[in-house]
Amino acid sequence: MVDQADGTSTPSGKVLLSVESVNKRFGDFTALKDVDLQVAEGEVVVILGASGSGKSTLCRCINRLESIDSGRVVFDGRELPQEGTELARLRADVGMVFQSFNLFAHKTVLENVTLGPIRVRRTPKAQAVEEARALLNRVGVGQKESAHPAELSGGQQQRVAIARSLAMHPKLMLFDEPTSALDPEMIREVLDVMVGLAKDGMTMVAVTHEMGFARQAADRVVFMDAGQIVETGPPEEFFTRPRTERARDFLSTILQH
């Protein structure tokens, strides 16, 4: 899946995730309006948009942490079912990384990473521990395995959170602003892990305003405004020649920072 020329992954063509005419309301407020999004296996999609444009809501609808009002979300050939065991099983195949890390506060780093495989996948403990250690080393926090989350820096916590998701061998990874709660010097270490994942061919949907990441790793950028997808295209094209007025406005505001 890795392209020889530039080392970036290329989508294989098989659609892994399909969001079809999804609408989501909170009371009278429409947070998502007729959203369509297809993500191919191996594809890396970056979602951009102003605050309140519905990026997080879209992410959360993809693994049904948020229920939808109409439309369909089809993952790996199956429409997401109602809350229950079946949905839990599908969710196990979708990793999610949160802005606020959400590591289990009462568990050690190692336990955070082994809990899912042991309890959800029924992986034997010894194997889960071995895999968890390998993952923790891969994201560079191997020496912290017996610490509790509160004892780690934000960047370390977020890397553990990524390892926790990867331990489930997900087919898709969702990232909702994984670096926006981090100090600048920690952003790099998390982005490096994400770029590495993208290069290894992981299918990713990432909400992030880190243009460096989008340029380096994304196959496609999706721009949202007021609950709708208003523009989508290759990152270079989007950043240099945005087609819509709203995308131009948005880019000029984030470039000022």
């Binding site: 195949d93 949160f98 606020s100 899912g116």
Partner: protein, 214 residues
């Protein structure tokens, strides 16, 4: 006074009955409270509604009224229990509502992100409750649950009004016999204070232990 001291054994026995009633009531309230709490945080609407209704009903009637209803009303419907059993059941049912509130408070104090991360990993509702939420919630529940237990101990004295022979009931009889309210009722008060202080002390210890374990 010396007359009353002759009956100290009766009073200590009453204290024993009070402790027994309280413990039974508390265990019942805790078990019922867990069930109610699971209902109230479950994604199933009818269960949530039932849990809420139960809590609201019991929080809004006096314990004494419920005791009267249970002890004098139920036999009319053909159901009756021994007095001691009746009061234990009443305490359990009544304080289950408060135990539920204490437990729910503990659960609500756990950040929602914890449950979301658990669900996102593919855990079922029960797994996320058991593995992630409850262990963290328990720490904040200790003090409120201790308060529920103290409420049960003090509330058990209402049994005197329906003829249960616990501490207050026995004090009442001695007081009628000797007409010495100060020593009799004073001794009873002392008995209750000893129990409640013990509970507070133990709760403080337990909470400290849990804080270290994280």
């Amino acid at each position: 006074m010396s007359e009353i001291l002759k009956h100290i054994g009766v009073l200590v026995g009453g204290l024993g009955v009070t402790v027994e009633l309280s413990l039974l009531g508390f265990v019942g309230a805790a078990v019922l409270g867990i069930a109610l709490t699971i209902m109230r945080v479950s994604p199933v609407t009818p269960l949530r509604a039932f849990g809420t209704l139960y809590v609201e009903v019991f929080r809004n009637i006096p314990l004494l009224v419920f005791l009267f209803l249970f002890v004098f009303g139920l036999p009319d419907a053909g159901i009756s229990f021994p007095l001691f059993t009746s009061e234990a059941i009443c305490l359990a049912m009544y304080f289950a509502a408060f135990a539920c509130e204490a437990m729910r408070g503990g659960i609500n104090a756990v950040p929602v992100g914890q449950a979301e991360a658990a669900r996102a990993l593919g855990m079922t509702f029960t797994q996320s409750l058991r593995l992630i939420i409850l262990p963290q919630a328990f720490r904040t529940m200790v003090q409120p649950l201790a308060n529920v237990l103290i409420g049960i101990v003090l509330g058990s004295s209402l049994g005197a009004a329906v003829g249960v022979s616990e501490l207050t009931g026995r004090v009442q009889i001695l007081e009628l016999q000797y007409d010495e309210p100060l020593p009799t009722v004073g001794l009873a008060a002392l008995g209750y204070v000893v129990i409640t202080l013990t509970i507070a002390l133990v709760a403080g210890r337990v909470q400290k232990r849990m804080a270290v374990r994280r």
